[in-house]
Amino acid sequence: MSPARYLARSLVYHRHATLGVFAGAVLGATVLLGALFAGASVRASLARAAEQRTGQTTQVVTAGDRFFRAELAPELAATAGGRSAPVLLTQGSAVHAGSQARTGQVQILGVTPEFWTFAPRPAPPPAAGADALAVNLTLATRLGLKVGDTLVVRFPKPGVIAGNAPIAGAETSLESLRGRVAAVIGDDAYGRFGLEATQLPPATVYLPLPRLQEALEQAGRANLVLYAGPAGPAELTSALARTTRLADHGLSLARREAAGAFELISTRIFLDPEVVAAARRAWPEAQPVTTYLVNEFRKGDQATPYSIATATTAAAAPFLPADLGPRELVLNAWLAQDLGAGPGDEVQVTYFRNSAGGGLAEAQAQFRVRAIVPLSGLAADRGWMPDFPGITATESPREWNPSLPLDLRRIRDRDEKYWEEHRGAPKAFLSAAAAEELWATRWGSLTGLRVAAPATAGDALTARLTAELRPEMSQLLVRPFTAPATPTVDFAGLFLGLSLFLIVAALGLVALLFQFALLQRNREDALLGAVGVGPGRLLRWRLAEGAALLTLGGLLGLPLAALYTGGILRFLEGIWAGGTTFTFAAPPLTIALGLAAFLLLSLLALWLAIRRLARRALSIRLAAQAEEETGPPGRPRGAAALAVGLALVAAGALAGSGKVMPAQGAFFLAGFALLGSGLAGIRILLGAHRTGLLPGAAELGRLNLRTRPARSLTVTGLIATAVFMVLSVAAFRKQVGDNWRERGAGTGGFAFWVETTAPQNPARDALGERFELFAGAAKELGAIVPLRAGAGDNANCFNLNAVARPRLLAVDPARLPTPSVFTPRLPNGGGWEALRAGASAAEPLPAFVDENTLLWALQRRVGDVIDYTDENGRTFGVRIAGVLRDSIFQGYLIVDEAAFLARFPSHPGPSVFLVDAPPAADLPALQGRLRSAAADAGGRVETTRDLLAAFHRIENTYLAIFNVLGTLGVILGSLGLAIVVARNLRERRGEFAVLAAIGLPPEVLGQMVRAEFSWLVTRGVVLGAAASALATAPVLPNLPAGPTAALVVGLLGGILGLNYLSGWLVFRAALRDLRPGMGEG
């Protein structure tokens, strides 16, 4: 007989024990492999989604809110090598013309046929047609669109400057396009294209580039280039620098014949400070020009409305005094006559400027008239005025429509006549210093730079300037587009963590069953030892048997793990609704590692079980009548010390709560230590001697437990730990409290969170800071706090991709209702004013971040600095200064608005609003009205309570998974208990037979067993519940009493019921076996 034959025979002969171990192995392997597969699947799905999002594009060139020549794309490809495609990208909303279903946050792409060659699997462009458009699957699904349906797309047409610059142009207006859906673009055909690193594909409309250019009045222009080719970011940036022209910066060189000069002007009216600096390097002799709209010149009772004034130097305007002071001005003869002013007179100048909140405000300044110039020559040149939108092209000042709160009734006939004869010829001239002081905006302070040069010098000037310009000065930035998506959370680790208790319980069960199987063969092993089978050889045989079972269990666990993973993935898809699909993935390496880990862990458990038995002398094992040696109970050494030590740890944790560690962590540690201390105490109780009279049946049952203390402790420990884990975790479920309208809550006490696709600036047709969006409900609303969403990706819990730079959200702290709103927590105390600490450009920008985002998405700490790039490509740091606990700002870094605008002066405006409402307001009705008002702006209006609850749902889902898996652990614990009791009963068949023979009825035997059972279960449950009550003490007061009590009672009732039921069934089965023979059999 060979060892293999012997082992095979043994497995078959001991088939019940074999099957038990095998079943445990299957369960353990399923859970462990399932956790690993879930992680691998999420990772692979995210990687696939990322590939579909980026396609073949390796880098993109973005332009912020600006536009460049579409021709730049092919020119760039020609310079850098590779291929490229120009794209015009904007955001808007879409309405299904048939069903009127509407959605905001729609990405609108103007594309050329080249765009489709960048798809993961390039396909021919969708059918073209005058009104044809394509949509992606996300939009088609959301609106129920199919090919042939009509779609209306609404989007903002940008102004000259995307923002609220005074006089810089008409406000952004909404445009509509109507089209027939010609194709629905699948994921592999670039249906997931988007710049934001998220697994959620944006709803997208694809239009032919010329059509969108026309609608946006950006003929021949684009704002995005897709690139695929050999050039890396540095090479592509260099190629971009060599390729860009003035037009790509929105610049042009205009000839001013009257001045004998060229003037550098911008389509954005104001020259970017970076561009001005570059131009000054190129042309040191250049002179500044700032032309502005003056609302009123006034001398005493005489006033002249709405005039153009220019600030420059005597070098650019030789008719000006060389020493014109900052509070002096020069009037042209017309204005001097109109005001009746002469040299030395005081004149008040009224003009618009931006208020701190982004609205318009009128300001006044006093000037002394230095001189009067005739209205002729260079002083009468219309070229001083740039192309002010809504003004320049009009025939009469009464037709002006600059979207400014002008009172055009003040226009007099003589003003009209001036316009007719001289148009924008300035009526007054100021010094450059005065313009810098009064009219500077964050977009710039100059409307032109003049260089005196002959008409033939244009090309040379352009060449000198181009050499000094860098693409990033105009927000032309190269961004890598192939970063592999990594999950925010290591899902394999997460599910392993969530499943840990279940895995440990399964492995423990395997070890228990295996140990019982070994006990059953105790004398067999002893015999083999006696006839000379060495201990090492026997150990290897038993491990080989175990390994065979575990391997088979693992192999059967593979398909079961696949099914289990499938269930998990469908569950996850339900959470991240909106286009997140997970496909099953089980890479060979994961399978190999998972199986190896399972086998190693299981074999370790088996090895420990074998070692424990093998330590006994062969003589004792041969002589043992029972399958396990049972001796008199003894007081275990060290248990008392352990109980006291852990109790001290618990007390220490409580004492240090809030001092050396956060209260929640301290209490959890205290609870866990109490659990350990309690188990050590139970071990002491199990070892306690009892002497006295013959005990009753119940006491006899309890005494039985003491003969096998390790088993009893294992079972009680398993139940106690399961109860502790399930109850503790359940208590951490998050709910939006009834205090959500309080300022200290995570909602800040605000009623609504409003988010729009298009930035919303204060209305320009009225002074003040009135937002058109809220005009209809203004009387029912309280404070409105606008926030500017900036660079970075959303890092909230809906985005599964790891985000290195969360989106910045800028707020003016002064607009917040109280310094303690949202209860910011800073290491050294303080409130929102801390955001203003780092005002200088050299210091990192202080930021607040939601605690969950910091902990899970960023995995950083307070004090860490994250690097960002400003709109001109310069790196700046953002320092995490404090945290907001459980807030609606999940996914963002909150920074000071002023500091933000210093780094992003071109930022188009607020797109997030915190909106207050009186406590008695009818919030649902108000929400409905706000939604209607925000519909065109692609607005999303949610109560802050709902927003916070949506975040909680994700977090609670993790807890729910843990609870489900923990409950499975409880079930396994109960199964373990049933097995232990069954085993005890089996080992005591002889004892029962004797008791039955001397006349004890089954009821007495039942009392004995019940007593054993109750002792184990009640101590496990009570200890677990007590420890969990301590662990969750800090959060208990915040939990709703009714549901929490119901949850606890339900869980405890379920656990007790499950255990008693299994115990009763086991006892009934044992009793049936006992009746026929009344002997050990």
Binding site: S10, V531, R537
Partner: protein, 222 residues
């Protein structure tokens, strides 16, 4: 063949140490058969376990077949048992999953046997003939009576041609007639081949051996 010098064996218990054997001296020559008798709890089985290297003495020296048992580690002790000892247990300890013949061959599972497997098998079959079970080779232990099981255990003890055979109450659970047959079989199979040490309460069996040693309270008294 067996030399025990001042052998003491003490067990720990919750009530304190319990000395089972104390300063025991014993010598058994090759080919000699010795009966160990004494009241229950006198240490007979303990002595047998020590002689069989199944347990280690607390103090004293124990040499069996030329080996100092105190110097053997667990693996060496197993090899020693496999090469030089044969055991006959009171409860037989047959493996229920194996056939009768396979049970006889169980010692070969220890490995390291230079003998050809077919030769061992032939010897096992011959031994089964000797114990009059040649027709039951493929039977399972549960198909045998107690006496037959004991005969299989004796055959198993002889399969490695041991120099010492240790038997613990071999006739304890048998009727007198079967016990007599078993005693006869044991003596016949070991005569002149191996030293035989038998723990027994059976005076008849003890009388048939060369020598009887009496154990009382852990000491040899005669």
């Amino acid at each position: 063949m067996i030399t025990a010098t001042r052998v003491t064996k003490t067990y720990a218990s919750p009530a304190g140490p319990v000395t089972v054997l104390q300063d025991l001296d014993l010598t058994v020559d090759a080919g000699e058969s010795v009966a160990i008798v004494g009241p229950s709890g006198s240490g007979k089985t303990t002595l047998l376990n020590l002689l069989g290297a199944l347990d280690r003495p607390t103090s004293g020296s124990l040499r069996v077949a030329g080996e100092d048992l105190g110097a053997l580690d667990a693996a060496a002790a197993a090899r020693f048992r496999n090469q030089h000892l044969g055991f006959v247990f009171q409860l037989h300890h047959l493996l229920p999953q194996c056939t009768v013949l396979e049970n006889v061959l169980v010692p070969r599972l220890a490995g390291g046997w230079t003998e050809d497997a077919a030769a061992t098998r032939a010897r096992a079959e011959a031994l089964m003939g000797e114990v009059d079970l040649q027709d039951r080779l493929d039977h399972r232990p549960y198909q045998l009576s107690g006496g037959e099981q004991l005969r299989v255990a004796i055959a198993r003890a002889l399969i490695n041609q041991p120099r010492v055979i240790l038997a613990d109450e071999p006739t304890g659970s048998l009727d007198p007639a079967t016990g007599e047959r078993i005693a006869e079989l044991l003596l016949r199979q070991t005569a002149g081949k191996a030293a035989l040490v038998v723990v027994t309460h059976n005076p008849g069996l003890a009388r048939r051996l060369h020598r009887t040693c009496r154990l009382e309270q852990g000491r040899l008294v005669g």
